[in-house]
């Protein structure tokens, strides 16, 4: 047997707020990030369309120039941008992040991916996290993004697109865990 084999995941349970609640972490711009400031907000819904009031969402994204603050990315990222955020749903299943619109991120073989935000969802009833991506509906480069264009069903692809609200800074992205309008989740 392997001594250093992976530890299994277990659910975050209903009481995670105790250990994970960091209210300031939903604002990734709090150190003065450069770029177009946006809100990403929405609801988390279950298979009955009922709000999930005990989910924790985490995002990880590039800065306005498409750079990640990490040793794997040789470029120097915006020191005023956190890249990571965490938000918890309220009794109506709503969450909200304050962030900046990310730039295009390098993909495979010198290509560029469309701008996106990586999203992880934990909740009671999720024995391991769900992983998806938030893309921006008005982004021309979506048409050449390998991940988006690799999804054959347009209705499924559509679940990854955040919609701008009333032409303003707010973008709507709902997470449907199951059933009608179920979000596309990835096998990471």
């Amino acid at each position: 047997m392997s001594r250093h084999a992976a530890t299994p995941s277990q659910t975050v349970g209903p009481f995670f707020r105790l250990g994970l609640d960091r209210p300031e972490w939903n604002d990734l711009t709090r150190d003065g990030a450069r770029g177009e400031k946006i809100l990403i907000e929405g609801r988390v819904l279950d298979g009955d369309g009922a709000p999930v009031d005990d989910a924790v969402l985490e995002i990880w994204q590039a800065d306005a120039e498409g750079r990640y603050d990490h040793p794997e990315d040789a470029r120097r990222a915006d020191p005023g941008f956190r890249g990571f955020g965490r938000a918890m749903t309220d009794e109506a299943g709503r969450y909200r992040f304050v962030t900046i619109r990310p730039g295009r991120v390098p993909g495979w073989e010198g290509s560029l991916q469309a701008p996106h935000v990586n999203l992880t969802i934990f909740a009671r009833g999720l024995l391991k996290q769900l992983v998806t991506r938030i893309y921006f509906a008005d982004e021309p480069s979506n048409d050449s993004d390998p991940l988006l264009t690799g999804i054959a069903d347009p209705a499924v692809r559509c679940t990854l697109l955040a919609a701008r609200q009333d032409g303003g800074a707010a973008w709507r992205f709902d997470v449907v865990l199951q059933g009608k309008g179920e979000t596309a989740f990835f096998d990471l």
Partner: protein
């Protein structure tokens, strides 16, 4: 062109729980119904947040005016990648109920006393060898409404950030010899028995402090890169 960095390895069969596990009722309306879509890892997945400046909170027995009630325990171990490489400077967040089986949380309806001197919240940054250490109290078992007269085995919740978005892990640590483990649908959601047992800490006399606290060792192993040689497989 630079060489493409190696992706994080796929989980071995049976190590990770499924989304739908009917014995755990909350999964029924929350598990996705479609198969997950394949994802070729990119810079987005092999990078992730770092938290070197987070303040630590490693003594949970002295967060109030007096000492927390219950059996004092030391929970310590190493954070590693598959293959055995230690992960230094990583954030571990921890939460648990008190000795009576009650969480300091508004939604916890269990009729057991709160301890004014115990919050059940901890936070550590692993040292250069990937080690962490908490002083806390043994959590109690508590009832839940999954089925009639169901009780969760004593456990401590762990949230761990590895080097990448792909290595993020939230899990629970259990205690050896707990008679509730064979009955617990969350623990038993992990198909592989050997993998399941890795969720159970080990009593370690060398970690115990004489006339003070019992020691439990719990190593957490995160996904490694595909190119990582498995030292155990040599």
């Amino acid at each position: 062109m630079s060489r493409e960095p190696p992706p994080y390895a796929r989980p071995r069969p049976g190590v990770q729980p499924p989304y739908l596990h009917r014995e755990y009722g909350s999964t029924v309306k929350r598990a996705p119904s479609r198969a997950l879509l394949p994802l070729q890892q990119t810079l987005s997945e092999i990078t992730g947040p770092r938290f070197r400046d987070e303040p630590e909170l490693v003594d949970l027995t002295r967060q109030g005016k007096g000492e927390a009630l219950g059996q004092r325990i030391i929970v310590a171990g190493r954070l590693l990648e598959e293959g055995g490489r230690p992960l230094p400077r990583a954030l571990i967040e921890l939460w648990q109920c008190n000795a009576a089986g009650r969480y300091l949380h508004g939604k916890d309806q269990h009729d057991a006393p709160l301890d004014p001197n115990f919050t059940g919240v901890g936070r550590a940054i692993t040292n250069e060898k990937g080690e962490y250490r908490f002083l806390t109290i043994l959590p109690g078992a508590y009832p839940w409404r999954n089925t009639a007269n169901a009780w969760r085995p004593a456990h401590i919740h762990f949230s761990v950030f590895g080097p990448a978005f792909a290595s993020r892990l939230v899990t629970q640590m259990y205690f050896p010899g707990d008679p509730l483990l064979p009955l617990d649908p969350i623990y038993n959601s992990v198909p592989d028995e050997a993998a399941r047992r890795r969720l159970v800490s080990a009593y370690d006399p060398a970690l115990s402090e004489a006339e003070y606290a019992l020691g439990y060792r719990f190593d957490v192993v995160l996904r490694g890169r595909e190119s990582t040689p498995f030292e155990d497989d040599r």
